[in-house]
Symmetry: C2
Subunit: 395 residues, 2 copies
């Protein structure tokens, strides 16, 4: 990346640190090195805002306040939570069932959504058709005997999934599995309900149709009273659909590792018959138990609506930027394309060095041709700093 510095003014000291960052990124493969890792290796970096991490910070605060009142206030309970075996998969599924409006026997509780993705791909897929750009585990987790084929999304069309082109591409590929993330990571495109329903109806003969709704809480969707935003009203018409859901994004608790998948009961039975015995920690079990409380969900919805306004404010501001192309988003992040002469890697590094802001450089995302950043939307004061910093470096 150091050869791409020309269009930007960079000091000698910055140049040196950029080179260290380059080495670190190379070692992390297709996922950004964690902030902790970066700070450990390059102490000069002082991270003020983590705009790489896609979470609702208001929900983290809400979780934290309940956790303090329920758990930290009762040290013996907390100690026991760390000491004792957690409950097994099905018991936790029971607790989640009511809040989700999904029968417990359809629920596979996972140590983060990535475990659910791995379970489905390793067990119910021999050829997977992905839409690129995408979340990399969907192709990385395909083993040596699983074929991967691709459908290219088009930035010129705002990464929209054209239903007819998509269905034709899947069927032509002869894949037994296809994945739609909606809203998609990294572009934030939400497939309209009618399109999704039509696509799923056309692909109902696939062995496995994965619909990843990890970011759906952030989309502007009608929600049943007392319910949470979801695509399951559509997906549950189709037996072959597996819904994947991370809890790290909407609840901002990636360190706890909590996610789930909704699938045919026979598949849940098979998976649990041969594994996943105690795959949920005591802390994740506590988190799932919060779903049993309608008071918690009411508070969560309030925080979600408040956060959605932050997203609106952020995207309204970036729409006025003439130095990046910010794509429409239904998620809590925004993909931005910068001028082809400027390296996204260098911009990412400069945001970090000069402003302490960590955004996702998308150079390693397959299916993205050009220079792209993915910026997580956070609190209002943080967003203001991020917007200023982007303008400072790029305008």
């Amino acid at each position: 990346m150091l050869s791409d510095l020309t269009p930007l003014r960079v000091s000698l000291k910055e140049r040196e640190i950029l080179s260290q960052l380059e080495q670190l990124s190379a070692r992390s493969g297709s996922h950004s090195p964690s902030l902790g890792t970066m700070q450990q290796l390059i102490p000069e970096i002082n991270v003020d805002i983590d705009s790489c991490y896609l979470s609702n910070p208001l929900a983290t605060d809400l979780f934290w306040s309940h956790f303090n009142a329920d758990v930290l206030a009762d040290p013996q309970l907390f100690k026991r939570m760390l000491e004792a075996y957690p409950s097994q998969n099905r018991e936790i599924a029971e607790r989640l069932s009511t809040a989700l409006g999904i029968d417990a026997n359809h629920l596979f509780i996972a140590n983060g959504a990535t475990e659910a993705i791995q379970a489905v791909i390793h067990n119910y897929s021999s050829h997977i058709h992905i839409s690129i750009p995408t979340f990399s585990p969907y192709y990385e987790f395909a083993g040596p005997h699983t074929q991967v084929t691709k459908f290219q999304l088009d930035p010129a069309k705002n990464f929209a999934v054209d239903p007819e082109e998509y269905v034709e591409s899947v069927l032509r590929s002869k894949a037994d599995t296809a994945v739609l993330i909606s809203p998609n990571n990294p572009d934030g495109y939400l497939i309209p309900d009618a399109d999704l329903e039509w696509i799923l109806s056309q692909l109902s003969s696939l062995r496995t149709m994965i619909v990843d709704e990890s970011f759906v809480h952030f989309a502007d969707r009608p929600t049943a009273p007392g319910g949470l935003p979801t695509l399951t009203g559509i997906t549950q018409q189709f037996e072959n659909v597996t819904v994947v859901k991370s809890m790290s994004k909407d609840f901002g608790i990636a360190g706890i590792r909590a996610g789930y998948a909704i699938m045919q009961p026979e598949r849940v039975d098979q998976l649990l018959a041969h594994g996943y015995l105690w795959n949920t920690s005591g802390l994740a079990e506590y988190f799932f138990s919060l779903f049993d409380r309608s008071a918690f969900l009411t508070e969560y919805r309030q925080e979600l609506f408040r956060y959605r306004r932050f997203i609106d404010n952020f995207t309204t501001a970036t729409a006025r930027f003439d130095f990046v192309r910010a794509f429409d988003t239904s998620a809590n992040f925004q993909l931005m394309q910068i001028h082809a002469d400027v390296s996204a890697e260098v911009v990412t590094a400069l945001l970090l060095l000069r402003h302490g802001i960590y955004v996702r450089n998308c150079s390693d995302k397959i299916g993205l041709d050009g220079e792209f950043l993915r910026v997580a939307i956070r609190t209002e004061p943080e967003n203001a700093k991020v917007l200023d910093a982007l303008a400072d470096i790029l305008s």
Copy 2:
């Protein structure tokens, strides 16, 4: 079980609760229902001592005191630990490497030992030969296409593994995988070093030889200065050996889910190339980071030696019991055979109802013919109560 009550005096009220417990056990399959689950469903039960859970309670206290000083004293750090993505598998392996004296590229970090067992059986085994009785995931995790064959251990020989008979049995079975747990769960038999070395040398052509050393800290073994008890001095001579290690037993932190396996670097590479991206929680990462501190390990060894004396005292006492046969153990639990006329399930329930003591009823263990209890050894005051309660009900 209610038909087996005759040899014991049981009240009407006890009889009623026994019937509820029976239903609960039936639903939990081959693993005991968790204490939490039992207490939720049968509020009459007041559990004072969990002698089902196989852990060193002194180590839990040690962990808890470090956790308080390092994490609970710094709420912002703790909140960040719950909020942020944990480090990836290889970074955690690096931290564990020095304390274990094992190259990081041989280490697969797992969300509890059960995840490591699942990974190995699902990926590197098509026919597994187990020694029964055993830890049930070793056969439960075998999928529909994995054959399971068995070597029967003999209570009359204290469940000792006869090296020649064992090797012959494995080779005759044509299995590509065999498992030795040493000390074994549920009987506590430790395979002598010379026997283990000879067995492994004879089975070096197997695709996968699993040695589970989850309980080895409790065995009386020579340990390198500053090191932890381990069988790896023997196992690392053989390329086909995978060592499985739970951290729940020695460190008493089952709720955190932490374990690892040691295997050929090519296998670690393969597993991580197609999964296990963020399979460790922030809390487990903190736990693994304690291994980087020699001061922590020094304190741990002191607590381990103190706990080993509790084990000695307990087994000395049970050796004098004439109403049960307590098997020699190198682990932190003891298997006890009771009179064939008395149901282990009823004794377990009565220990719980009358004394608030929860022990493991082994009725569901395959390869155990007769009535057996497995009793975890805990603190001195707890052990005294357990010994009294056993005498009260059985003598």
